[in-house]
């Protein structure tokens, strides 16, 4: 109920702001815009009055000479004008201290400037040019294999990671080094063999290692109730046959099995069914030897090994300990939750370190796997039917792999390779080779967008329906289109707005859209950095990997809820709910949450938990290992939520005198006073630091605190536009007061991700349009996605 109340209030504010912001815009689009500068345009007057004292041809502040620009044609300085819009909209300019326009004047000027720029774009649209060749990156490749062959393949085991540009790893993907090509061809061979059930490999396998800083004292989600620790390992078994599964327990630095003080039972499960219940126990103590001369632990877990028949295909291997009825850790002593290091916080009970699955031995056949069912759409019973069947199999496969209808020419060479392999090794070996050929083809590995023939250089054109289908599926699913989408594109139906929208909504509802969380949002919000961050263990002794993964899960579930429930994207910030399990709830001090499963928890009133600004993941990726960083937090919000990244620091900046400040045990706020005192620093730090100060109630691992260095936290501050704020609630309210800033930033990020190129100034009119239209729908997530899908940069392309 409180949520609803908030909603209503918010809508009212948003509507008010929007009405003010966009006044005149719809009209402006219809009104003819004069091509030459009109001196009486409100923005020209505002620039003349408030900007020229710094941005003139002598001072050239920020490299911007607005005195000259303001007298010239708008179109000649489109890029500069978009910068002006950005700074004005974020109220970063004019800076505090300088003379500033009244809000009404500022809004009117912005409206006229944006309308002029939008008009300019309408007359001369520039959709930008995505690269002609864009290689499937590792995530896309893995998803494509899954969707094409019903095969879970760990692409990370064969392909290198992709480096990011503009914040996303699907932008600079035009390169193909020899080593990379070898990796793709090698992957094609491996995948084909696994999918077909190709003839015996030497027993190969997987070795899964658990992160050493995982605490294994509690239940792991997905494993049976009454167990603790261990892991659930999904594994595709290549053939029917026998497999050897070996388990090794975690050691301390002395090579002793840590936490092994009494006997424990270890369960080995296949698809949830027990394969074997092992017992591990400490070595028997020799009476006549002092304790430290007891035998090593070499063989105490040597017997954790089993050879069992397993059928081909995907299975899960579970390894976990039986929970003992009562443990010391459940006493009232409130010990740390983290147990993984002998010195700092020893394991109380033994833990699993490694699970190896090796096989097959005595392979018994290809079995009946999801991949084979997907692949073998026909099974030739007679020799003479083989080639027809092969053609059918390969053409079905190629259509989806190439994301377009196939021609006989497409199939010619793969069929030749099929023939050659079939002649020496039989029908299935032929299919395997043909499949490897399709998976090695540049038409599978690259998304290729071709300029239509005989188009003038630099002309804008609408991409084909098939290209659109690929853009759509790689945007929403990070994968290839499915048959339904391909069929619609092949029929030419995607041109129809209703069909297109229906497809987008269908795709968003499909589980594959989870990639918008795990791939898009995890890059946008820097969740990918979580694994690289380890807080200082002296300062934060209770941090372990369980907490790190819980942080990630919380944020992913919040983003997922906004997408699945088609909520307003503003809920990402203002949600009065979040997702917690016992580990995270304990860390946050939220009572009465038990067990490993995450569940939605709703808060009344203003709580310390909820939206993104209150989540451990964000608060930790923006901190140092030993302390918070208001600077990094401020920069993160400017970059990722407000879309006004501060310029990079100048060269030769002296470091803060950390040692001196640390000796004095000053709160970070005092230590950063220099940032505001020194004019060389203040220019940018006045943008960043005050935002971060408002979050000082959260420590470097996201816990709520009221003291820092034994001094009360002061979470009040004044933002760059002069807004006074108090704590996280104040900061959040300030951000939500101009929701279009946040929504524009998210739209920019989505557009970058969906087009695979950096957003440029000429994309701004399209972004404004998307945001404007989505405002009418309370900025629901689907309205942003549909807006992007209908936008010029997404639907069109500029010829070379």
């Amino acid at each position: 109920m409180p949520n609803q109340g908030k909603h209503v209030v918010f809508r009212w504010i948003a509507a008010g702001v929007l009405a003010a912001s966009f006044v005149g815009v719809p009209g402006a689009e219809q009104r003819p815009i004069p091509a030459s500068p009109s001196a009486d345009a409100p923005y020209r007057a505002l620039v003349n009055t408030y900007c020229l004292s710094c941005h003139n041809n002598r001072t050239k502040a920020g490299g911007l000479e607005l005195d000259a620009i303001n007298t010239q044609d708008l179109g000649e300085h489109w890029e500069a004008w978009e910068k002006v819009v950005r700074k004005l909209r974020a109220r970063q300019m004019p800076p505090p201290g300088a003379r500033r326009p009244e809000d009404a004047d500022r809004t009117a000027a912005l409206a006229s400037l944006e309308a002029s720029l939008d008009g300019l774009s309408a007359r001369t649209p520039n959709p930008g040019r995505t690269d002609t060749f864009r290689r499937l990156n590792r995530t896309e490749y893995q998803n494509a294999i899954r969707d094409l062959l019903a095969l879970e393949f760990d692409a990370a085991s064969v392909l290198p990671s992709d480096s990011a540009s503009y914040g996303f790893d699907n932008v600079t993907v035009g390169n193909l080094s020899p080593t990379l090509l070898e990796s793709y061809v090698s992957a094609a061979e491996k995948i084909s063999r696994l999918a077909v059930g190709g003839p015996s490999l030497s027993p190969g396998g997987a070795t899964v290692r658990l992160r050493p800083d995982i605490t294994q004292e509690k239940h792991v989600e997905g494993l049976p109730v009454g167990t603790r620790g261990g892991a659930l390992v999904p594994h595709t078994f290549p053939l029917d046959g026998e497999y050897e599964i070996t388990i090794r327990l975690a050691r301390d630095r002395n090579e002793n099995i840590e936490g092994l003080t009494e006997a424990h039972q270890l369960d080995l499960l296949l698809d949830g069914e027990r394969l074997r219940l092992f017992t591990v126990e400490p070595a028997s103590v020799k009476e006549d030897e002092p304790a430290k001369y007891q035998p090593s632990h070499d063989n105490l877990d040597g017997h954790l090994k089993i050879r069992v028949p397993v059928t081909a295909g995907p299975h899960t291997v579970g390894v976990t300990f039986a929970q003992k009825p009562s443990l010391l850790i459940e006493t009232a002593r409130q010990p740390y939750e983290a147990h993984f290091n002998y010195y700092r916080h020893p394991r109380i009970t033994p833990a699993v370190y490694e699970i190896s699955i090796v096989g097959p031995y005595n392979a018994a056949g290809v079995g009946d796997t999801p991949s084979r069912r997907r692949l073998f759409t026909c099974k030739p019973s007679r020799k003479q039917d083989e080639d027809a069947c092969a053609k059918r199999i390969l053409s079905t496969l190629t259509r989806r792999a190439y994301r377009r209808p196939v021609t006989d020419e497409d199939l010619q060479k793969p069929l030749e390779l099929y023939h050659a392999a079939k002649t020496s090794d039989g029908f299935e070996a032929g299919i395997e080779m043909g499949l490897a050929a399709v998976l090695s083809s540049p038409e599978f590995l690259f998304r290729i967008e071709r300029d239509p023939a005989s188009l003038a250089s630099g002309a804008s054109y609408r991409i084909s329906d098939l290209e659109l289908a690929s853009r759509l599926s790689f945007f929403v699913w990070s994968s290839i289109p499915d048959d339904q989408l391909l069929d619609a594109a092949a029929r030419g139906d995607l041109d129809k707005p209703a069909v297109l929208e229906r497809e987008v909504r269908r795709m968003l509802a499909d589980p594959r859209s989870r990639n918008l969380v795990t791939n898009f949002a995890s890059q946008w919000l820097h969740l990918r950095n979580l694994d690289t961050i380890t807080p200082d263990m002296r300062v934060f002794p209770d941090f372990d990997d369980n907490l790190r993964q819980a942080f990630r899960e919380e944020t992913e579930l919040l983003v997922d809820s906004v997408i699945r429930e088609n909520r307003s994207v503003l809920d990402l910030l203002r949600a009065n709910y979040t997702f917690l399990n016992e580990r995270l709830a304990k860390h946050y001090g939220v009572p009465n949450i038990y067990g490993s499963r995450f569940r939605r928890v709703t808060f009344d009133g203003d709580a310390t938990r909820g939206g993104l600004l209150r989540q451990g993941s964000i608060l930790m990726v923006t901190s140092y290992p030993t302390r918070t960083s208001p600077v990094i937090r401020g920069k993160w919000i400017l970059d990722n939520l407000l879309g006004v990244p501060p310029p990079p620091p100048p060269a030769n900046v002296p470091a803060l005198d950390n040692a001196k400040a640390a000796v004095k045990r000053l709160p970070i706020r005092e230590r950063l006073a220099e940032h505001r005192a020194n004019p060389a620093c203040a220019g940018c730090h006045r943008l960043m630091d005050p935002i971060g100060f408002a979050l000082e109630n959260y420590d470097a691992v996201g816990r709520w605190r009221t003291l820092d260095a034994n001094m009360p936290i002061d979470a009040s501050s004044t933002l760059f536009d002069g807004t006074p704020v108090q704590g996280v609630a104040g900061l959040q309210a300030a951000i939500l007061r101009n929701p279009e800033l946040f929504v524009s930033t998210l739209t920019e990020k989505l557009l970058t991700f969906s087009t695979g190129r950096g957003v440029q100034y000429y994309d701004s009119p399209a972004i404004r349009k998307i945001v404007r239209e989505s405002a009418a729908d309370d900025y629901r997530f689907s309205s942003l996605v549909i807006g992007i899908v209908n936008s010029t940069p997404f639907r069109m392309r500029k010829a070379s």
Binding site: T132, F133, G174, L176, P178, L181, E182, V185, S186, A188, E189, P199, S200, S202, G204, G205, T207, R209, D213, E244, T246, R251, R253, N254, E255, N256, K292, Y293, Q294, P295, S296, H297, D298, N299, F340, N341, Y343, R344, Y353, E354, S356, E409, K413, L417, D425, E428, A436, S440, E443, I448, R450, D451, T534, P535, D536, M537, R538, P625, T626, S800
Partner: protein, 450 residues
């Protein structure tokens, strides 16, 4: 049915593992073979480092006499007798930067000679290790610039020793002061990194043939695209065609290589041998193969870990290594430490003999390698870092004068040896860490051998 058709006779090339059925694939090897093929006439220098933890009983380690030509090995070093002429014992080396004396700093300083920053968190800081400096020079042409190996399948984070982060104790090799390189101990994982799935020579050739036909198709397909695209995009396509041609060239090289293959049949090891010596020998076998196939030229290997509580019942030491090393002057415990030292040396001797058995150019692999063996701790009872047990082995491509004992009167920085080794592999530095000069007597003053 299909399976039995392809099943192969079992072989047991690698020691210590179960028999396996192997199929080809050499993807991992191709670049390396290219490099070898490009430089057939040059005897390749290889560099290896083997670490033993917790120092030695230096009395039983050091050969008798005042240095010079090695006539008789000490009891601890006696397993090296068959390769004595390839061995130089260097006595009285010290690691000043390993103080204050700990296990963590012994391991960390061994190849860096640097002082480890005292921290148990991720802000650790050491120095670039000698193997990595060498790898930047020697490792460019090989598939793996360097290979890091260990014996213990154990990862620990946080504090390990007196407030030092576990990375210092876990990692011998650091590619920068903040980048420890994790070592691998699982023979199968090492093998796959080196050779993919392995296989016999004909199988590897057949796999290369299949891959060549796939590449052939890729080239055709790209050419087809080229005809469909505009001028601007065609240059990109030409780049891709160059890439395809380069991969094809590598495959041809590799095919040629398998015809007179320097490598034996490659059987993928499956598990970890239960017996320590078997596991160690398997790891040494893999190193021999890696050097032989020129997959890498720089290897570090932690034969055991500092503070290891491993027991060595097989040589009559059923006591845990670490507590025994705090012998408190007890002659019985000191004798046990010497036994462990000798056992480790015997495993190293196995490695040297294997290297000496493989023909390489105009000599053997051992002739063309330089290997350093030893510990960053001197007397384990007091955790000091003087009188380190140090051996240099191998022919250094005819440059090393083996069969000698270099005995310094005064403690001499181990970094002098690092500097000398770097010099021999072509990395000329004025100094390394706390070095004070080079060990001129290690190498022949006049190069008669070539």
């Amino acid at each position: 049915m299909m399976i039995s058709k392809k099943a192969l006779p079992r072989r047991t090339f690698l020691r210590g593992m179960g028999a396996t059925v192997a199929l080809p694939l050499l993807d991992a090897m191709i670049p390396s073979m290219t490099a070898l093929a490009q430089t057939p006439a040059n005897p390749v220098r290889r560099l290896g480092f083997v670490y033993i933890p917790m120092g030695s009983d230096i009395a039983r380690w050091t050969p008798a006499g005042e240095g010079g030509v090695l006539t008789e090995l000490s009891s601890t070093l006696s397993p090296l007798a068959p390769v004595m002429k390839h061995v130089t014992v260097v006595s009285n080396m010290e690691l000043k930067n390993a103080y204050p004396g700990t296990h963590a700093t012994s391991n960390a300083a061994f190849l860096s000679a640097a002082k480890a920053k005292w921290t148990e968190s991720s802000d650790y800081f050491l120095g670039t290790t000698v193997d990595q400096i060498a790898a930047k020079q020697m490792g460019q042409d090989t598939q793996l610039p360097s290979l890091e190996l260990a014996m213990d399948l154990m990862e620990v984070v946080g504090q390990c020793d007196n407030g030092y982060a576990c990375v210092y104790q876990n990692n011998l090799s650091w590619s920068s002061p903040t980048t420890p390189l994790p070592a691998e101990a699982h023979p199968r994982v090492v093998f796959e990194r080196l050779f993919g799935e392995g296989g016999t020579s004909p199988q590897r050739r057949a796999a290369l043939g299949r891959r060549a036909s796939l590449l052939d198709w890729v080239r055709d397909d790209i050419s087809r695209l080229q005809r469909q695209l505009g001028a601007a995009d065609r240059s990109k396509v030409s780049q891709y065609l160059d890439t395809v041609r380069e991969v094809e060239r590598r495959i041809q090289m590799a095919e040629a290589q398998t015809l007179d293959s320097p490598l034996p049949d490659l059987d993928r090891p499956v598990g970890v041998p239960a017996d320590y010596a078997d596991h160690a020998k398997l790891m040494f076998d893999l190193q021999v193969l890696a050097l032989q196939g020129d997959v890498t030229r720089v290897i570090t290997f932690q034969l055991a870990r500092e503070t290891s509580n491993r027991t060595y019942a097989e040589i009559g030491v059923p006591d845990a290594h670490h507590p025994t090393s705090h012998h408190g002057g007890d002659p019985e415990k000191i004798a046990k430490i010497a036994k462990i030292n000798q056992f480790h040396v015997s495993l190293f001797g196995y490695f040297l003999e294997r290297l000496a058995s493989v023909t390489d150019g105009d000599g053997t692999l051992l002739d063309h390698s330089v290997l350093m063996y030893g510990s960053g701790m001197g007397n384990p009872n007091v955790h000091d870092h003087v009188n380190l047990p140090i051996i240099v082995a191998g022919g250094g491509a005819g440059k090393i004068r083996g069969g000698r004992h270099i005995k310094y009167a005064e403690p001499t920085p181990l970094a002098n040896l690092h500097l000398t080794l770097l010099d021999r592999v072509g990395v000329r530095l004025d100094s390394f860490a706390d070095s004070t000069g080079k060990i001129d007597t290690l190498f022949s003053p006049v190069n008669l051998a070539g």
